[in-house]
Amino acid sequence: MSFFIDHPKARWALPVAALGVIGATALTVNQTANADSGLPSRTAAQLLADVRSANVSSLSGTVVQTSDLGLPEIPGLSMSGRPGSASSSLTSLISGTHTWRVWLDGPTRQRLALIGSNGESDVIHNGNDVWLWSSADKSAVHHTLSTDQVRAGSAGKRLPSGLPSGLPSGVPSTLASGAPRTPDEAAAAALALMGQDTTVTTSGAASVAGRSAYELILTPKDKATLVGSVRIAIDSQVHVPLRVQVYSTKRTNPAFEVGFSAVDFAKPDARQFSFTPPPGTTVTQSDHLLAGTGGTNATAPKPTAPEPTAPTTGQGAPKVVGSGWSTVVVAPFTVPAASKGSAGSAADSTAQLNGILKALPTTSGTWGSGHVLEGSLFSVVLTNDGRVALGAVPASQLFSALAAK
């Protein structure tokens, strides 16, 4: 200590050094370790085969999803994902950062918990029972699956065979209007798009959730699309996709990312899948899993870009213009009437939709006129004559698709 007595000013070096160490640690932890970690190299085809043959039936982990879709600040859409219980509502998925906890145990038992600040929404599937729990309003929705549905769920219709069917097949596609939420779900969607449109390469090892992983990079050959590349990190041992990042051509950070921040492939405790509605809970019996979650129908399936919650009505089939990455879907569109049966939530979402529409810039051209929403990964045009066009392309592409009736 005599050094510090002789040089009193030198004491200040200590707090500065501590700050430096903390900063350096934070930076190295946050940075994805892209260094070669000594994994044997594998080709893209080998990796795909690995993924298809992966056999993981149980896991528990934390999934973090971040979206930076470059959408304008729209009143009514929670952009920060922070205020109150809104962040734990199942319909607020399209923007901001969200944290999920997942527990999977075979095809019949899954649980998904969306973590909000002092709130939580759970989807619990156990055998024939599906429960939706919302801590914000202390309500539970109960849905009983028929035996057929249970079997269909175990077959995993939406996923390539062999991939762990992350969730009951009915639940994920309907709950959040198609936004992929688990890494394997998103990977499956991206893989389905591959073909002659895409260059598939691999890069050095990545580190996701403390596990070493291979990275598969899909680059669209089509230059018209807004998707720059899709990077899929695949676990080097159990060959399960751990993270999916979608890069836009417009910015350097991922526009959409979903990945594990912690994962464990051990069989979760059976207690995680049991749910008994606690006393004082409003329990709704439902034939429709959607009833409790805002009444949005899934729009036309378009795998990579997460779509906005645009309620479409059934009349008239959607029209597909173009192919591959620059596919544009043109569909009839009407704002649903407020009194649509399912009471409060539908009226709320209609009001919200109208508010969003007002906030969007208007534009017009040879195709007509309407509101346009341009994000970093996709664009949407809602025309005044009742059509909606969307695709992972700039808005100008949508205009020409709309013009080509």
């Binding site: 009193p8 709130g119 729990w133 801590s135 006393p279």
Partner: protein, 295 residues
């Protein structure tokens, strides 16, 4: 400064304790015990503890008289009626914004700046007590003060809550129910987590306290620091800064009420707490050890 604590008493107490402790016994707790006696003896601190204890009682009584509407009101409030242990949790979430940081700010203001203002600091340093040891003692007393303040809120809330609402099973955020015994554990964990955050705030307060000789200035400066942190934390445009703010994960104590508890945010909060405590503790040391004590 109340008349109940004449300056002379503090000085003579300090001189007696420090003088009596031989230099070789560095780990003696007598200095700390004397510091704690001084803190506990101050009339304003006793009044502060009363205010801290009054809030949960007020919440419990108010909820008892008028049951809150279902699913409305601040988090936890609507769950109080099912289990008395939600009273301390609701009280903590209410007091964490202002009252608890204010209590720490009062203690921190008194710790060094208060002594300097009274003129007791130089007497304290004439007796054979190293400056580093004095500072460590001051910080230890702040940490104990943080635990103390949280414990008062929790115990008062638990007593009032159990008396008015009983000891039913606790409803977790995940929709499951845990037994009363397990719920007590969760509340203890929540208290320790919050106390850790306040202890880190105490390190900031200790540093500010070494910068001035006006205890009020130190108290106000620490409150400004706290409130600015809360404001910065609520502005989404600077979200890159949020992980670095001390208060960012303070409200994450709700994650301990999930089933199973969700540790990610808690761990992040504790890391930030530790970082603040180390950096500001060292800053306080660098400042205090080389400071000219003029009063």
């Amino acid at each position: 400064m109340s008349a109940a604590e004449p300056v002379v008493t503090e000085v003579s107490e300090r001189a007696r304790v420090a003088g009596a402790a031989p230099l070789s016994r560095r780990l003696s707790t007598r200095l700390l015990r004397s510091e704690l006696r001084l803190i506990a003896g101050r009339r304003r601190n006793q009044m502060g503890l009363l205010v801290l204890a009054a809030v949960p009682v007020l919440i419990a009584v108010a909820v008892r008289i008028s049951s809150p509407r279902e699913g409305r009101g601040p988090d936890f409030l609507s769950s109080i009626t099912s289990n008395g242990l939600f009273v301390p949790l609701a009280a903590l979430s209410v007091e964490l914004g202002l009252f608890l940081p204010l209590a720490i700010a009062m203690l921190a203001g008194d710790s060094v700046a208060g002594e300097a203002n009274l003129g007791t600091l130089r007497y304290l340093l004439t007796v054979p007590v190293g400056r580093t040891r004095l500072l460590v003692t001051k910080y230890a007393s702040l940490v104990i003060g943080a635990v103390w303040g949280v414990a008062v809120v929790v115990v008062a809330g638990a007593v009032a809550g159990i008396a008015l609402f009983g000891t039913g099973p606790m409803l977790t955020l995940s929709g499951s129910e845990i037994s009363f015994g397990a719920a007590v554990w969760r509340v203890v964990l929540v208290s320790l987590y919050i106390a850790a955050g306040l202890a880190a705030l105490g390190a900031v307060g200790l540093f500010i306290s070494t910068l001035t000789e006006q205890p009020l200035a130190a108290t106000v400066a620490l409150m400004i620091f706290t409130i600015l942190s809360w404001i910065a934390d609520s502005v989404p445009q600077i979200s890159w800064l949020h992980p670095w703010l001390l208060v960012d994960q303070w409200m994450a104590f709700g994650d301990l009420l999930r089933d199973p508890p969700f540790w990610d945010n808690i761990a992040q909060g504790l890391r930030v707490d530790l970082g603040y405590a180390v950096v500001f503790g060292l800053l306080a040391w660098a400042r205090f050890a080389g400071k000219d004590i003029t009063s």
